[in-house]
Symmetry: C3
Subunit: 337 residues, 3 copies
Amino acid sequence: MPRRGWPTANKPNRRRRRLLSTAPKNVTTFAAASVKMALRAALRNKCGFSGLLTQLSSSGHHGRVSSVFVSQMRNNTTSSKINVDFNKSTGVAVLSMQSPPVNSLSLDFLTELCINLEKLDMDKACRGLIITSSLPKVFSAGLDILEMYGKSPERCGEFWRAVQEMWLKMYNSNMVTIAAINGSSPAGGCLLSLTCDYRIMVDNPRYTIGLNETLLGIVAPFWFKDTMLNTVGHRHTEMALELGLLYNPAEALKIGLVDQLVPQDQLLTTATETMTKWLAIPDHARQITKSMMRKPTVDKLTSNREADIQNFVNFITKDSIQKSLHMYLEMLKKRKA
Amino acid sequence: MPRRGWPTANKPNRRRRRLLSTAPKNVTTFAAASVKMALRAALRNKCGFSGLLTQLSSSGHHGRVSSVFVSQMRNNTTSSKINVDFNKSTGVAVLSMQSPPVNSLSLDFLTELCINLEKLDMDKACRGLIITSSLPKVFSAGLDILEMYGKSPERCGEFWRAVQEMWLKMYNSNMVTIAAINGSSPAGGCLLSLTCDYRIMVDNPRYTIGLNETLLGIVAPFWFKDTMLNTVGHRHTEMALELGLLYNPAEALKIGLVDQLVPQDQLLTTATETMTKWLAIPDHARQITKSMMRKPTVDKLTSNREADIQNFVNFITKDSIQKSLHMYLEMLKKRKA
Amino acid sequence: MPRRGWPTANKPNRRRRRLLSTAPKNVTTFAAASVKMALRAALRNKCGFSGLLTQLSSSGHHGRVSSVFVSQMRNNTTSSKINVDFNKSTGVAVLSMQSPPVNSLSLDFLTELCINLEKLDMDKACRGLIITSSLPKVFSAGLDILEMYGKSPERCGEFWRAVQEMWLKMYNSNMVTIAAINGSSPAGGCLLSLTCDYRIMVDNPRYTIGLNETLLGIVAPFWFKDTMLNTVGHRHTEMALELGLLYNPAEALKIGLVDQLVPQDQLLTTATETMTKWLAIPDHARQITKSMMRKPTVDKLTSNREADIQNFVNFITKDSIQKSLHMYLEMLKKRKA
């Protein structure tokens, strides 16, 4: 099967045409670093991601670095933390998280993730996305606690906006999204998988998944809660969130937190076969249906985004919470030693 | 057991009294054709069905045809597409759909169905309704695609209003409603069964049930979605609607899409026994409870009815959708040949 | 393990300090009778319970009866209908209902229950509450029908306000609440258990649980419905409430109406072990999470409280409903004879 990276001269779809009307064709080829800076600026200016690539593209028009990246990305998009392997013949991209030791969702990681999602969403040729981990034993350990500990309110807010952006991009994605969960997936890692259309987990009883925030003394925000509620219903969500429950694969399957269990060596094959089934449905009808199911939940966050950031910042910068995080980090250090 | 048709001198209940204050007692006996015309006019004038029988009755007052029908309907109500067998001693009516080849929900079919539902609902003696099919292998194949293909916007709107009316009458019915599903029940057929209080399906693995609209490139509207959501929850609804899933009886039972499976030859017996159980509950308390459970969902449609019709018409008359339907119809033709 | 009753000189928490700023330390020691009178007055004046203890304490300041009660309550709080055994070392109180023959929720019973809940909620040392029955075979038979039959509208309203208060206190409690269901639990008894965070039921097939109001011709109000819906979902709630279903333990476990079944002799041990698990979660994070899950449901009642009382009074004082209740009471008498 011929696999190709990001097409530089791909026929742009309508949305892309709009965004890139004045832009060069090699818009996808900027150095990750400059993209990240622009992205953060955009986040800071609260303009969201949608206007971002226009900015990037006009500045990149003069960039010298681009040609280097073009060649690199013919086969796939690689950055320090994320690898995207896009198979144009099938229309399916496999996004692998490769940020050791545990794919923590740091600001940098989320920024890269969002850039990749933005690009994939804009590429009409890309209809499906499989998210998995390149690391053994862990899918993602969730939000990076170091982003919440000892940081300024501004930085905390910037971080939280990126978490929201990841959720909005994923939960609202026009692509078919499948989580291939090949390791433990607590807290934010669980959230990431819950945003997908389908979840396949490796059937290893050592792996766990769940929104276990309360164990750390922190609280899953309403949109984490809504995402879980839409997946496993009110009662399981209530109990899971109050107790910070982590489920092993069999338990997760039983309550519907994941949809399917497979042996490790069948994970990607199964994900690919499942994707084929989903892609057999006409995109348009499937996308409208997905939006109908998820829009009320998405709208709740988009219309309360700034307040939600403020809430998070107020909460996380409290002395008592910072103390809890300190203790948790000390415990982690000791465990390693 | 003595079985009787529509009582011509039945003591009218309060609602009936209101509607029929100026009407003769044999209001139920008008020729189906003229009823249908009046009904369509009512639909066209957006006056809903509630004022319909008043119109009919005043015109029918002078009608000669009525006496003929009175005698015919002593035993049951028969029309080309629907047969109603009302057992006054038990208070239970069995409504059999008999419109070959597949009980498609055409405008004519829906009109007849709604007239029959209106009459049953107004008859205080009728407390329970069992809906089934007289055809082998199919309960109902759902909305008639020919009503959506190559039709004028006006006609499409008229059709959609009748679909809404069927749903409103059924989902909101004061009667206990049981679907005796003796064959496949895709799309609108599934919707019809979902409006009932209880679903019993014949345990034949060849039969399927589900809201599979996306397979045709069309989208189940929000009230189809809400009806399914109230039955099987958010997650199953999301996956079922996005993938256009059709479930065999065992799968349907597992997710709660149907409540019970029985062998073909026990279907009506089981439905009748189940009905007896439901009718043991005081009507008043049961009806208020049912309304409490369903009113929010009903209100969402009644307060958005015109917009929903407009949405449907705009969507279904699109070139791309018409093309999809054309292809589907061609495929059906080839399959027959 | 040292077990103590209500501490008379316990360090008051913030809320208690506010309430009791002008009050003596032995506020918990008033005679149950006078407390009940004040409570009823508070209910009548629609001021809710929150300002109640202030009133009580200022009047009690001059009371002579208090010193007698202080000594009695060192080990536990006893009244005619409810026994509270608070183990200060574990932070867990066991509230046993002991109102023969069936722990009916009469106005007196509810008043005592609410006073005890108010006290426990105000005591920072009390973090967990186990509710059980001292009677064999019955947890609680639910609302006392004698409070609804042949009573004045005022009295009916007073009763209903107390039912609401019980629900609000329980469903909204900051404590971890576990129902140890050691007998049948119909109607209001089921509601009481549904307000808890976790339900453990004795696995005796003779015991049943459910909101069976329709069997009596009455209707579970919207907040009974919401509580069940949050526990077992829309479809099970719809069917259970319309049919007035009572489930045996195995059935209740299957639909999620209870969380766990145990043999009779392991009930309290299991409840205590479960409580330990719940109390391992930081209170603050758990409480915020619980509130996030339940607040919308609580708010619906608090913002419609008076209308809900009026609805109840209008409904229950109807001739037809009074007749139903009369017949039901006659039937009960005959059954006893």
